[in-house]
């Protein structure tokens, strides 16, 4: 637990803003002057740049590369990853130099390499630590359980930080279990920590049930969503959610016309909603209106390329081009150059 507190200890001396990054860079500048380049490289890479690199590798789906690169860091608890190891550079500073986000990434990567159990184990450890720290804070102790008295605003800030970290870990666990096709129940337990995301979470669980064919369970969850929306008053984003869910149920019942109607109604409230636009076009195809569907999708992409240059939309577009004609290769080429210009 001590290892997590390094950053926290440092941030208590400063405001939780980009200043903290500033400070670290100043520290590193000192290093450039006074210490070996090798040590500098290690510290520089470790703290932030390695994390950025790993996140980008993950975003690019280069999971094997990410795993190879994170492997030498072991379980992120080598002594030289702690501030105490560099007493001259960071005097008095304690704890781990590894950002929490990097620990999370390290925990998540195995699931993308067909080792979801390992990911779950690591995530579970993270969750346990978060819960323990939160318990200590709530008891009026410091994060590591020691009897230091903290200023009220610092306690609040710390509580908020660790709450958000706990939620983030739980999302990761729920996503991992989803990949393992185990079931959506973990998402349910996030609601108590993030009540403002209740509608999205319940809708998400409904969609997961639809994916496995259990339309009845899905409808139950969607009804919960409608009740929640009614209680909090009519926010347009909530009505959007309700309409979206209704459309998915229609789809599952082979009622593409109804689904299209729901998406269209949604677009009256939110005309620029990219998901509703894409999904409405997909429904049109299933209703036998290829030309209309293609026209709509093409129009959307040309109008707002930044928003619609998405893997899914492009895939739908190219599938429809292929279906439309033998000269689809021509059209795809014309389209591709346009896309390349923007990407």
């Amino acid at each position: 637990m001590v290892r997590f507190l390094g950053e926290q200890a440092a941030s208590k001396r400063q405001v939780l803003t980009a200043n903290s990054v500033e400070q670290s860079f100043n520290g590193l500048k000192q290093l450039i002057v006074s210490h070996s380049p090798y040590l500098l490289a290690k510290l520089l890479n470790l703290n932030y740049l390695w994390f950025v690199r790993l996140s980008l590798l993950t975003k690019l789906n280069l999971f094997q590369n990410a795993e190879l690169e994170i492997e030498p860091f072991g379980n992120l608890d080598h002594p030289d990853l702690y501030y105490e190891y560099y007493p001259t550079v960071y005097p008095g500073r304690r704890g781990s130099m590894v950002p929490f986000s990097m620990r999370l990434l390290h925990a998540e990567i195995p699931q993308y390499l067909a080792k979801p159990q390992e990911a779950l184990d690591r995530l579970h450890n993270l969750k346990t630590v978060c819960l323990a720290i939160l318990e200590n804070l709530e008891k009026g102790l410091a994060e590591d359980g020691s009897m230091i008295t903290l200023a009220q605003e610092n306690v609040q800030a710390s509580l908020q930080l660790w709450q958000s970290r706990l939620s983030r870990v739980m999302y990761s666990m729920a996503n991992c279990l989803l990949l393992m096709k185990v079931g959506p129940h973990t998402y349910h337990s996030i609601i108590q920590y993030e009540p403002h995301q209740k509608v999205q979470l319940l809708s998400g669980i409904g969609r997961i049930f639809l994916q496995s064919g259990d339309v009845n369970m899905a409808e139950r969850y969607f009804q919960d969503v409608e009740r929640s929306c009614q209680m909090t008053g009519s926010q347009s984003s909530h009505t959007t959610c309700v309409l979206m869910n209704r459309a998915f149920v229609s789809l599952s019942q082979n009622n593409y016309a109804e689904a299209h109607a729901s998406f269209t109604e949604l677009l009256k409230l939110d005309p620029k909603n990219p998901v509703a636009n894409n999904n409405a076009a997909v429904c049109l195809l299933y209703l036998g209106h290829l030309k209309e569907s293609l026209g709509q999708l093409e129009g959307l992409v040309k109008q707002d390329p930044a928003l619609y240059l998405h893997e899914s939309v492009l895939f739908n577009l190219t599938s429809m081009y292929e279906l439309e004609s033998s000269r689809s290769t021509q059209k795809k080429q014309n389209f591709n150059t346009q896309c390349l210009k923007l990407v």
Binding site: T58, R207, S312
Partner: protein
């Protein structure tokens, strides 16, 4: 998967796309905290991504629909849906277009088109669309035959067809029996009494020498609300199979006879009505195995005997080709003539092969060509054989 018949350039193009349900796009959330180097950048990217859930961007399963990627599998009982599009690729107006979609199975030909009337005219760049549905009730090969006939602006009548083949998977007969009473019961007998066309093998007993033990083991009682599954394997009787080649169409399999006993021998009995089933189709030529060993040694040739039956109504002149796979190597001459085979006749074919890979291997790679029609039938995954190493584990 589609085979083009005519080599001539047509003014119209026919395209088919299987319509399985669309899938929901999943996101891969990569996040960081404000204090980390990227700061708010990752969160911003996720918020701007059109496929993330607004307000809960770390939720993996989004709401964006993606069209089906590939053909996928199809199972008995599922519905095959497909989009059929005829597009005018030319720059002239085309008249009197008739599009027909038929499904050809081994036993029947079904018309699937929604409309059977011709479309008067189709302008350039326009298309005729249709979505067809069919519930798959037979196993074996299904061929979607799409035929398009049209007249050019010069009055020339043209016609072309496209074939799309797909296969369904096999299924055994399973009977599920549930005890809906409030007391335990002893299942004395659950048997499938076959009709005169079939032999039935029940697969609910494990034989140990002379004695047979139920697959349910020592659990001889069925508790209230418990369910048991009984499995049966159907084989057509030789006299019925040989005469017609194969049993085609709807047949009567037999009826289930269930006898049970409860407290102090209180007896109960149920018989179902005659169960009907669409018999499996085998296509023009049926290739089955007469003899094959269970276990063979690695890299040692072994013999199998195949039986080739002509299930069609015309005489065939067959040529056999053997293709090696990664694990199976055929011994003998490939490309030899097997001679003429009249309708409903069969021949026995001894073959030798060996396997170079250990484990459960699938025998594949036989190709029979009918030289009369110049049609080739492919036979893969005919059977499985267990390949073991004959030496001790150290040497292998």
């Amino acid at each position: 998967m589609d085979v083009n018949q005519a080599k001539q350039e047509h003014l119209l193009a026919l395209k088919v796309m299987r319509l399985t349900k669309p899938t929901l796009f999943t996101n891969l959330p990569v996040t960081c905290e404000d204090r980390d180097l990227p700061g708010d950048l990752f969160s911003q990217l996720m918020r701007e991504d059109p496929s993330t859930i607004k307000g809960a961007e770390t939720l993996m399963l989004g709401e964006m629909l993606t069209l089906p990627q590939n053909f996928g599998n199809i199972f008995l009982g599922e519905t095959f849906s497909s989009y059929i599009s005829v597009h005018n690729d030319s720059n002239q107006v085309v008249k009197d277009i008739l599009v027909k979609a038929d499904l050809q199975t081994s036993s029947q030909r079904l018309n699937l088109s929604a409309s059977n009337s011709a479309v008067a005219e189709l302008k350039p760049e326009c298309c005729i669309d249709d979505v067809i549905h069919h519930e798959v009730k037979e196993i074996g090969t299904h061929i979607l035959v799409c035929a398009v006939s049209y007249t050019t602006q010069y009055g020339e009548k043209l016609y072309f067809r496209k074939f799309f083949k797909f296969q369904t998977d096999e299924v055994f007969l399973e009977a599920q029996i549930q005890n809906i009473t409030t007391s335990p019961m002893f299942m004395e007998k659950v048997s499938l009494e076959p009709s005169m066309m079939y032999n039935v093998t029940e697969l609910n007993t494990v034989t140990h020498g002379d004695q047979g033990e139920s697959t349910f083991g020592k659990m001889s009682y069925l508790q209230p609300m418990d369910t048991r599954q009984y499995l049966y394997c159907l084989k057509p009787k030789p006299e019925y199979a040989e005469k017609a080649g194969v049993i085609k169409g709807v047949t009567v399999i037999g009826k289930l006879d269930i006898v049970w006993k409860t407290n102090l021998g209180e007896r109960g009995r149920l018989q179902t009505s005659q169960l009907q089933r669409m018999a499996p189709g085998y296509g023009d030529i049926r290739l089955s195995l007469e003899t094959i060993p269970d276990t063979v040694n690695l890299e040692e040739p072994f013999d199998i005997t195949c039986k080739i039956t002509n299930c069609s109504e015309r005489t065939m002149d067959l040529v056999l080709e053997m293709c090696n796979t990664r694990s199976v190597h055929w011994c003998g001459v490939s490309g030899r003539q097997l001679g003429k085979l009249s309708p409903a006749a069969f021949l026995s074919l001894p073959l030798t092969l060996l396997s170079s890979v250990q484990g459960l291997q699938s025998i594949s790679g036989l190709r029979l060509t009918d030289t009369f029609l110049k049609r080739t039938y492919e036979y893969d995954d005919i059977a499985q054989v267990c390949v073991v190493c004959p030496f001790t584990s150290n040497e292998c």
